[in-house]
């Protein structure tokens, strides 16, 4: 399988290997309960950095709370949130922006859709999403919108709806007006501004994420996004990937791994829709070669994922059964 990046980097890093000596050093560490001693300067620098990081993390947690990658509050002890603190003003503001946007999304009523912007000509992030409270509600909203996105007819009875959201795209007819929105929510001390996104600027739904859980804690996730004609995931086939046929889909790739499976589907061929669908992009000067332009959406990709809470093997048949019953609501 042709993957020039993997080939080139594997060769570049061929000498960097976990040999037996390294494994021995690693596996005896747990007896010492701490990493090997570091040079004094390095230890001092790390200690100082840790103090700074702890201070920043504490301040951030007081001000913003801790959120995970989906914007949900997470217990402090999980420590799964990134601890990276950028050291330049642009990245720092971008990170604040992302966090504030998550906060805004979490705190605002579902009918209020928010766009957050930092600086002039800097980073721009918007999260035009609607949270849904049930599978039926998602079906109803998609049906009402006339979106070409499909959903499975039903989800297995053992799974209960946990959470979900529908994403919207910015209609190209209204895209120009975005820059002229009024600043409604300046944040003192932050170079950050929030804007309410007017309903008239929005098109239909550009994607969804629906999450189901059963009593054992096993998860089932359905995700869809509208894409351009030439866009694809760039996945390559390997031992754990196989091409399967699902009627109604142009492509279907099934990944079967220990503890989880993932099914990728591509549905092509609906009429082009002019839209700006990305929920994360930049208009920074270094992106001048990638101007922010509306796209023509002509297909949809679906990701179906299931996993077990125990990490034990799980059948992929549930995903194939779901895919067989995809319909336009």
């Amino acid at each position: 399988m042709n993957n020039p990046i993997k080939q080139a980097f594997d060769r570049q890093y061929a000498d960097v290997q976990m040999d037996e000596a390294r494994f021995n050093r690693l596996f005896t560490l747990s007896d010492q309960k701490s990493p090997k001693p570091r040079p004094f300067k390095k230890a001092l620098a790390l200690a100082l950095a840790l103090v700074v990081v702890a201070g920043v993390a504490y301040s951030a947690s007081q001000f913003l709370g801790t959120v995970d990658w989906q914007g949900n509050k997470t217990p402090e002890e999980l420590e799964l949130t990134p601890t990276y603190v950028p050291d330049n003003p642009v990245d720092m503001d971008a990170q604040r922006l992302e966090r504030l946007a998550y906060e805004a999304l979490g705190e605002k009523p579902p009918e209020e859709l928010w766009l957050a912007r930092m600086g002039e000509g800097g980073w721009l992030t918007f999260f035009p999403k609607i949270r849904v409270n049930s599978f039926e509600e998602a079906k109803k909203l998609l049906a009402q919108s006339g979106s070409p996105l499909m959903l499975p007819k039903n989800v297995p009875g053992e799974y209960a709806f946990n959470d979900g959201e529908l994403s919207l795209y910015i209609d190209t007819r209204n895209y120009e007006s975005l820059e002229r929105l009024t600043d409604e929510n300046p944040q003192p001390g932050l170079t950050l501004k929030g804007y309410r996104l007017p309903q008239e600027a929005l098109g239909d739904f550009s994607g969804y994420t629906l999450h189901f859980v059963n009593k054992k804690g096993d998860q089932l996730r359905l995700q869809a996004r509208m894409t351009g004609a030439n866009e694809n995931f760039g996945l390559w086939q390997g031992d754990n990937v196989k091409t399967i046929t699902i009627p109604g889909f142009e492509n279907a790739l099934l990944f079967e791994r220990k503890g989880w499976n993932q099914l990728f589907l591509k549905h092509a061929g609906f009429g082009p829709i002019g839209a700006c669908r990305m929920d994360y992009f930049t208009i920074a000067p270094d992106r001048a070669d990638y101007p922010l332009e509306p796209e023509k959406l002509t297909s949809a990709t679906y990701t179906l994922h299931n996993n077990t809470a125990s990490g034990q093997d799980v059948s992929s048949s549930i995903l194939k059964d779901l895919a067989d019953e995809f319909v336009k609501p």
Binding site: I5, A8, F9, R11, Y13, M18, P35, A49, Y84, K266
Partner: protein, 173 residues
Amino acid sequence: MNASAQAAAEELFRAHGTRLLRLAALYLGDTALAEDAVQETYLKVIKGYGKFQGQGDISTWATRILINTCKDIRRTGWFKRLLLSQPLHTLPEPAAPMTHSDHSVVEAVMALPAKYREALLLHYWQGMDARQISLSLGISENAVYTRLSRGRGMLKPILKGGYEDEQPHQASL
């Protein structure tokens, strides 16, 4: 030290140790520092295993810890001084023979803005899918797709025709 956590960590690092070490070497540009990062990650995995258990893919979780550890190390003054005292190019000397094309690919990828490089390498080199990358980097899956798409776009002049996903008759998404 919890014996089951230690056994799980050993199994994980036996299977993924080289992948994690190479990823750390990429982030830190120094094999010794990379080994430090892997060691810290190993200890954090053992310490956090009880809380993690059953919450998903353990190798993705370990990758996230490793990346955060590397980024923590990169923030230190010590690391910045080390970087200043070294040549800009901190890639290891390749052990295997590299073609002209390999060199072009490595140079093009390393020249990308960090966030695109990071996403592309986690996907194409480390073999992670969008969900795993989103969990590893703490960003949304849509952000991953965007970064992959833009990163690929920037590499197009170098990689044109080199990917199966640019050949319409092959099965990929």
